[in-house]
Symmetry: D3
């Protein structure tokens, strides 16, 4: 199987244990994560060859982050070691009506200040069959946006499938360019787009037709019209009953019709971070494995559901475990 | 804003981690708390100047307890360091149908043996606008009851608002006087009284009229009649579905009518201790901030609901967080 | 009160903390447990004299396991120290739709390789009033099956009550004999049999009559007919909504009629391992204490419900705590 | 072998991990210990039947303390469960020039308030061959002193060997009687006395003769003359280079001459608490095993040396490990 | 007593537990420290009123850092909350021949980007008797250097004692100005200068005269000549035998002669960070307490020696504990 | 650079934290290690391409062990997943005169029962430049000995350098063949032999000539004579002052003369396990890097010295760190 290649920042994640608040913690639990790298690591765990491309400072922390992804079987050979510091984020885990909370400390990181010329995409992608990026990366800096642009261009050149999770976060876009100016070009290079109705409105000014039977379908039709390369528009729907209980289902539109999955009750939630990345990894696995879009979607949602039971950013599950959930076996009965 | 001053014992709290039972624990988690000091610390976190008055042994443990409250911004300058030992309590955290369990070890503590003459209330209260006490303190010893009496008298003299949480615990009254003899005089000095129907019956022999439309209102009317200084009678109603799931709402009566808040589902409960103290702190904050009794009550209940998601005795939340819950935003959606 | 004697393997249990997966754990929590020894330890905690008989390697790990049961008041004097290694099992705790998972590593253990001649059952049982065994033991090895056979024979000789929990686990039977050949003789020696409808079908080829009003009763009637010594057939019914939420009730048939208990909601589940052993211990306590089968059954189910709130294999509860649940007090209200 | 019986208070020991100071600790490590019970537990570990007699409150903490000693094989059947609270001590572990520090919180404990009539010494000692007490017990309260007196009297009546570790701590004697008045009578009932030159001076007014060749011998001769029942006077000599490095040797006089052991370098010290109790347990083991006083003494000192490498109050070592040190094998070479 | 005011950055300190390397740590221990704030916190612990002035981001991390120093009694009211992020440093603790290692991540911190105009030094210093700064602060940024300059100027205007620890670290000076250009003006404003011979050479081009009897005296004489306001030049001498064993002594010159302290053996070292800050705090305490320079110096060195036995940046010791070491009592004998 | 390939068992290592004894541990720290794999992991950390060949059970534990070595950059693609269980060892860490203690539980492991035919050595070694084995592997089972024999034969065939660490442990040889019969053939295939004088006597019956000037040289000369392929005989000399303090130096003989390194003081020892493996990895690195045998030896000894400061089996150090120690910089001075 050809490699799936992902590109994006990996941050050190520091979080108080259990549900402690920031000011209570005598120690912070440490792991490393990033939206795109989480996809690569999940894929490796599902048996798909995966490589992640990023930029780290050349110090003990950058090397420790590299090692974590190496451990999970991600090919990290393309890592560029250059720049001042490792990006960080602090996570406080909520409960019941108290939300979890993320404090980012990523400005001025090695990735923020990367040099696009350090990445030879034709070389990096030479064994790849799929490139995945997210809207987080072009939001970080002009350089990161440029590198994303070059990666997508190379992938198109090499005939590689491209997926993008537009994942619009208003607060992130601080470097002087507007998401609305940057993102359309990137979206246009994709075969698969993860995009909610809010994202489409915010980024592309696309709103469901007022007379549409289904607003997601209406949005997806316009997205496909706008970006002819895009074949599939997919997303998840999450209902947040509380910080400890969510429901999750998936939607996909590919021109032929709307595909929807059953909804899973996520309760109790062990760790909500990385739920979307687990969905994407599952969807890519599914797309590479199953002929039907709906099964790929269903695999993605089931994988994401399982992610919520696992500590850390990354979905440490096997294909068999996801398939069990897909079959409707959500009883959690003890395995001996 | 003028200081809110609280008076009462602070104990070392020792509890096995997670849901371990006492006999399983190789280590005990350590924090410090006390019903009245918890109110002061919560208020400090809400931005209200707060001081706590207590008595500690002059040893490393008394100093460590002082430091914890100093850390949270409570003015601890009135602490008296004298006496033999720090009071303790051991807490075992239950789950589902297994209740949490408290073992007190407070007899013979520095606070139990305090000397009322050590507290110069006119000096202590000179910058205060509000005095808060609870029924725990006069239950500890004749000396503690006497100091409470003197504090209330000074507050009345200085025209300071007084609140009392009668909080009747039968087991505590061991020193030879009856709650029924001690409490009425103290309640009589209050502007605000936290008092449930059970408390009113047990302490004041007040029972709702059998033909009353609303039993809480009937009780509150009699309390107001009995203690003319008391303007507001307030309480919370808690339904304990299990050790991990409670519901909580608030009631207040001020002569004009009954005020009730919506009920919050508390699930899962992270730490139930200090829920009532968080309510009181929220109510005091609300009273100092809002013109309407109902908003003060609602702030208190929302604050208390949040407390159940936080480890330790003290409600470590901000005004913005409580207001979010008051607005009905209890979805716990991740904040980035 | 005469001793209850149990016989079976005790394993070291190693589990990642919280809900971490095996590959994430920098440390494993350590305790010791085994189906039969868990019964003895629970009984000791309920005030019933209890002894456990087992075989350990003569090393630090065997001695540490012995000490854990000694600590809980189990008479461990009959332990045989001989053989190569201590059996182990690794437990990963699930959540929501992710099941908990057990990896056994017990082959070649001291117990697996025990010598039946090391156990002088007439001596061991001389102060006993009850012998309890489970279907795990004869599944381990021919030697373990032989020792079980001898224990039951001695108990019958001495007029001691015998209970057996048939607990059929297909994967365990690896040493060349079939459960279907070994178990009937052992079951025939029992006064009380824990046996579900699946167990009866798998082990004894007994299926409920197609026209039976109640399938459990139909099965139990056939079991009693088949094994005349068996007076009571009992079992629990567990509905697994998720790894974090189960429901539990009990069934018993004694010839006179069907006895059923109310169902308990187990949510959240702290530790599901040992739930069946806690039931058995509770049932034995109940049988020794109450004249009515239903109360014994109800005590067993209430005890098992509480076990799900307690870490580790063993039910660390008192008689008073179980009785409180039996009375329907499952509110988990804080005890001070 | 006949039982060794010890009598004294067991306290909960709470200590910050590693070298943290009291005010830094978010959790306290928990164990239970007491000078005399430590001797019993060490002896049980050395294979000597041992029982400890004490008084605990009838609550979860008293039961947890009982279980710890049961675990180590100490016969705890004579425990009296009565009284208000468990005594506690807080231990801060020093390093280099910073001393370790103990804060006692034992006043008003169940043991402090024990009723001597609860202990039927003739019954307790009926299977005993040796009674051991320390000077801590009569220092706690008049009741504890009285119980000690009665225990010694019963032992003398039954012809049992009695050892006492006079262990004078000035701060402990608070209840109104002077050590100098209480201790001589108790010492007079002993066969073996652990007594340093300082102790002899403080308690008995005995000073080495100014012209004595060896001051310890001179003291011991006077002690023997003063208390004719005393046959052996023993002690350890400790040089404290720092909190992390001590040297330790032993001295004994039995009328026939002075016996001295080599000195051990204790570096690094893992836990210094219980070093004296480990010596006493080793000496009792040695006295019951070896014909020569010097070997008993040497066993005690080697056992005590090993104790300094072990966490907690109790010396968890085997006879073989102590003998290895006695032979001079202190190289700590890895055993596989 | 008048306040001692310190000024400088406080960073979050994150370190693997024990001697683990960065890449091994599943969690990082968390505390907050900074060279100048450590001095303030130590002084508060010694009973000297102390305030610290700094700049934090207005987020949960800045508030948590504030709370830590509030807890220790430092007046934090002058904290400016503004700017992007909290500075961090990562500490890996070595052993034997493996050095401890610090990775700084402080660029772009709130303090780095502070606005000097936010600090009204005349107001801040109005109750102060002493101002302390270090060479770390002017090394961070031009703004930080400017604020230091203004603080010193205000102190001189108000007649307050000024101490400066020149603490030259070449790697820190990255913002475009040379230490050699910035530092002389700042040093010129001091009454007390902490300065080693290397510092004097690097910063001021001052070298001991080749024929000098004592090189430290020769340096100090030239420093005093160069900066007439400087009365005392002090320093510590550290010999690093290994990461676990250092020796430490102190030197001072005040025109009248050379003062030297005995050398302390620091073994084992618990935490070496903050050793110099503890010295400075001790020296300030000593200067405010004792008439003789040598006693102030000796107090500083003894305090620093104790710091090496304490976890974290800050010296959590009492005056009595330091005095004990000053008297030569370094035996670390257990205190009960 | 060509790969270094190692072959041998990897075990799960479980150890109580700090210096706790087995029976005290509520949790065991978890890592994975094995003499040969430790060499591969150390080499990868030094920048040398390294692969390890082993056999694991196809379960979560085997995969977790694989991931640990993948994390450190070891090529694990040749792992055979087959067989029943993962080998384990339990480690108790001593202090001062108390030795560390290892309890092995490796019988019946997947590696013990490996099938030599599963390893295609010509394929495995095709990119290799060096093969390393130890005497542990042929001691495990006849199959493991056979696989070792085949690996060495293939290496010889392919002209690859072979090193063997004879590492004789009498207790290990349990499967019916004698080390004296198996080892000579394996040693004969080596270019480099790690062999102490005791090993040579025990395994090959080689004793230093009684008139030899240097006994190591005499032994090495005979070994070289006996096994003509062997060019270098090397070893370390360890003096164990205590479990916490050792000294270490190295010896090598290559026909030309004796090479010796300085001795390092290892104090305090953080973790002694893997010290020999770190030496071997350092020696291989040195041999691949330096032209002189003495420098290779010195690098090995310095690397091993550093290993004693690092937790776990594996030497997590860089070339620069080892070189610093080689230069004599053992002061452990803080690096910022």
């Amino acid at each position: 199987m050809k490699q799936v290649v992902t590109f994006g920042e990996i941050m050190m994640r520091l979080s108080p244990p259990l549900n402690y608040r920031f000011a209570q913690a005598p120690a912070l639990e440490l792991t490393y994560g990033g939206g795109e790298a989480n996809v690569a690591a999940s894929l490796a765990g599902l048996g798909v060859p995966a490589a992640h491309v990023t930029c780290f400072p050349d110090n003990d922390l950058g090397r420790a982050a590299t090692q974590q992804f190496q451990r999970l079987g991600v090919d990290m050979r393309h890592t560029v070691f250059r720049g001042p510091r490792l990006g960080l984020y602090f996570l406080e885990v909520g409960a019941a009506m108290r939300p979890s909370k993320v404090v980012y400390d990523r400005a001025g990181s090695a990735f923020d200040l990367l040099n696009p010329a350090d990445f030879n995409w034709d070389e990096i992608l030479k064994n790849a069959g799929w490139l995945h990026w997210t809207g987080i990366t072009p939001a970080i800096s002009a350089a990161a946006a440029q590198a994303t642009r070059e990666a997508i261009a190379a992938a198109r050149r090499l005939g590689i499938t491209v997926s993008g999770d537009v994942n619009y976060r208003r607060n992130l876009w601080q470097y002087g360019q507007r998401a609305q100016d940057v993102m359309p070009e990137l979206a246009a290079g994709c075969d698969v787009l993860v995009c909610s109705e809010n994202d489409a409105d915010d980024l592309f000014g696309i709103q469901p037709k007022s007379d549409a039977e289904n607003s997601f379908v209406s949005m997806a039709q316009q997205v496909r019209a706008c970006f002819p390369q895009v074949k599939q528009v997919i997303t998840t729907q999450r209902h947040t009953h509380s910080a400890s209980h969510n429901s999750l289902s998936g939607l996909a539109y590919d021109g032929a019709g709307l595909h929807t999955t059953p909804s899973y009750e996520l309760s109790p939630i062990v760790d909500r971070i990385g739920g979307g990345d687990a969905f994407m990894a599952g969807f890519i696995y599914g797309s590479l494995t199953y002929p039907e879009l709906l099964r790929a979607l269903a695999f993605g949602v089931a994988a994401s559901a399982l992610k919520h039971t696992i500590h850390g950013d990354i979905n440490l599950v096997t294909v068999a475990e996801v398939e069990e959930v897909m079959k409707g076996n959500t009883s959690g009965r003890l395995l001996r």
